[in-house]
Symmetry: C2
């Protein structure tokens, strides 16, 4: 389990430090997207301490290495999510409870090709994300009275 993560880190040429392993372990157990601050709060007790900059740095490195994913949030803050789905896909995120669901959109390679053909140049990255309320949050919202 930890060996798994150590391998992952070795693959990225990152040292398998306790902090990194803890961050990975936490993310892997979490089914929602999480902010650096939250990760920091949850990790503070264990270890003597962990610095917030360390959390930010590691999350950034892991995201750059493709191990975790950044969430594009309407509030423009940073959130990360570890998804074990190894195929190219994208996400539905619940803005209320922060759950994440995989979305397999078939047209993505087509998309990149279309852009490539029409615009030329180089595609560096693409974002596809659906924001909303998951079923339970939508039901809850409907239960109390809100718009419509």
């Amino acid at each position: 389990m930890n060996g798994q993560f150590s391998e992952t880190l070795k693959g990225l040429k990152l040292k398998a430090t306790p902090k990194r392993l803890a961050i990975l372990r936490l993310l892997s157990q979490e089914s929602t997207y999480v902010s650096p601050e939250e990760i920091w709060q949850r990790l503070r007790g264990r270890f003597g301490a962990i610095g917030l900059p360390t959390v930010y740095r590691n999350l950034e490195e892991l995201a750059a290495g493709g191990v975790i994913t950044k969430v594009i949030h309407p509030n423009r803050q940073l959130y990360y999510f570890l998804c074990s789905n190894r195929h190219h896909h994208h996400h539905f995120i619940c803005v209320a409870c922060r759950r994440v669901e995989d979305v397999d959109v078939c047209a993505l390679n087509d998309l990149e090709r279309e852009v490539d053909a029409k615009i030329g140049g180089r595609v560096l990255s693409h974002i596809v994300q659906v924001n909303g309320l998951c079923r339970s949050c939508a039901v809850a919202a409907a239960g109390s009275g809100e718009k419509q």
Copy 2:
């Protein structure tokens, strides 16, 4: 021309103030995405003055009203773009020169339907954006020596 914008603002129940009209005019003449700060800089001379918060507020209102579009930028700062294409579509953005090109992806309604069916709940918004280098910027980058 200004009447056009006044109508737009009236439609959003926003007063047609000189500042708003100027922001709209500026955006409509611009073929790239622009930051609030840049808009502010360019508008300072005309009028006695315009406040940066005013720029931020108005851009946000216009975006909320669907008149302009937010760009999701890798550097996580705010950028806006006024696109006259009235159909549902998304964008290719050049991270170098900030040009914006329309991308018509056919699968979008399908996407929302798929999410709706698979996940349930309520879809509030979706993001589709392709980031890269436009043709000329890619050529320029290739011209000088960079990675690969």
